[in-house]
Symmetry: C2
Subunit: 153 residues, 2 copies
DNA sequence: CACTACATTGGTAAAATATCCCAAAATCGA
DNA sequence: TCGATTTTGGGATATTTTACCAATGTAGTG
C-alpha cells in the first residue's frame, strides 16, 4: 500500500468538499496538469481510498425533522449476537449510523424520521422486535450544529 | 416550494448512492429520457434539495483509527453561549458531527483522530480550552457497524 | 559524477457526457 | 371539449473525461 503524498491529500481534501470539480479545476488547485491528476484520482479510487461519490440531500427538504441517537444494550455480547444485530440494523434505511461502543458494550445509532409518530413506528415495528435487546434509550437532537463527511487529511 | 414527486425521489435515491451515474444511466433508472431527467436534477440542485456532491474517503486509509463520541455540558445555555460554542466547533476538522440535544441540553460530537495520542492533543489544545464547558464525557467506538449518507426518500 | 532504470509528468486527440434549444406530448382547469 | 401550462424527448453543440505517448524528473549504482 503506497503512502499518500501531499498532492494525494490535496486531491482528497478537495474532492471531499466538491466531487464535481472538473479534472482541469482540480489539477489547477493541486498544481498538476490534467493527465497526472486524473491518474492519481483513478489510483485513489482503485486502492479504495476514495470509496464512493455521493450526492448529499437536505434533510428538511425531505421532511425528516427528527434525528435521534439511540443507545442500545444487548442481553448478551457473543459474536453471534453482535452479528445478528448488525445484520438487522444494516437493512433499515432509517438507521444512518451505527457504532459498537466501548464500555458497556453498547451500540450507538443515529436514526432519522419524519416526525415522532413515524419514529415510534420505527421503534415498535423494527427495533423493539429484535431479540436479545436488554435496553433502549433515545436522545433527541434539537438541531444539527455541524455535519461533515470530510475527514481531516 | 413544489413537492417532490415519485420521480424526484427516485433521482435522489440513486444520486445519494452514486453521484457519478451519467444522465443516461440515471434517466434509464427513473424511466425518463435524458432531457427531463437533467432538468429535474438541476432544479433539485437550485432548490437546495441536493445540497452538494462529495467523495467519501476511507477512514482507515487515512490512518484515522479512533472515533469518539463526546457529550458536552455547558455551564450556561444562553443563546450567546450556544452560538459561541457552535462557532468554535465548526472550525475544527476533527469534529465531523455536532448536535444540540434535548434533555440536559448537552451537545453530542463525533470526532475522529489518528490515535489516542492525537485525540488527547485535540482535547488539550482545543476542546478543554473553550470557556463555559461544565463537563466532557468521551465514549469510544470500537467499530463502525453502519455509516450511510443516504437519507430515506 | 555519469549512467541506467523507473516512475511521474504534460500535451494531444478521440470518445463520452453534459447542456441547451425547440417542437411534440401530456396534464390541468374551466 | 377546449385552451393554457407544464413536462417530455430528440438532436446539435459545448465540455469534460479518458487513453496514448513522448518528455521530464528521480533514485540508485558503479
Amino acid at each position: 500500500m503506497p503512502e499518500l503524498d501531499a498532492i494525494d491529500r490535496k486531491i482528497l481534501s478537495h474532492l471531499q468538499n466538491d466531487s464535481r470539480l472538473t479534472m482541469q479545476e482540480l489539477a489547477d488547485k493541486v498544481g498538476l496538469s490534467v493527465s497526472p491528476c486524473h491518474r492519481r484520482v483513478k489510483l485513489l479510487e482503485e486502492r479504495g481510498v476514495i470509496s464512493r461519490y455521493v450526492a448529499t440531500v437536505d434533510q428538511k427538504a425531505l421532511g425528516l425533522h427528527v434525528s435521534v441517537f439511540i443507545s442500545i444494550k444487548l442481553a448478551r455480547q457473543k459474536e453471534e449476537d453482535l452479528n445478528r444485530f448488525a445484520r438487522a440494523i444494516s437493512k433499515w434505511d432509517e438507521v444512518l449510523e451505527c457504532y459498537l461502543m466501548t464500555g458497556n458494550r453498547d451500540y450507538l445509532l443515529r436514526v432519522v424520521a419524519a416526525d415522532l409518530a413515524s419514529y415510534e413506528t420505527f421503534l415498535k415495528t423494527k427495533l423493539t422486535r429484535l431479540d436479545g435487546i436488554a435496553s433502549i434509550e433515545s436522545s433527541f437532537a434539537l438541531s444539527q450544529v455541524k455535519y461533515s463527511i470530510a475527514l481531516p487529511v
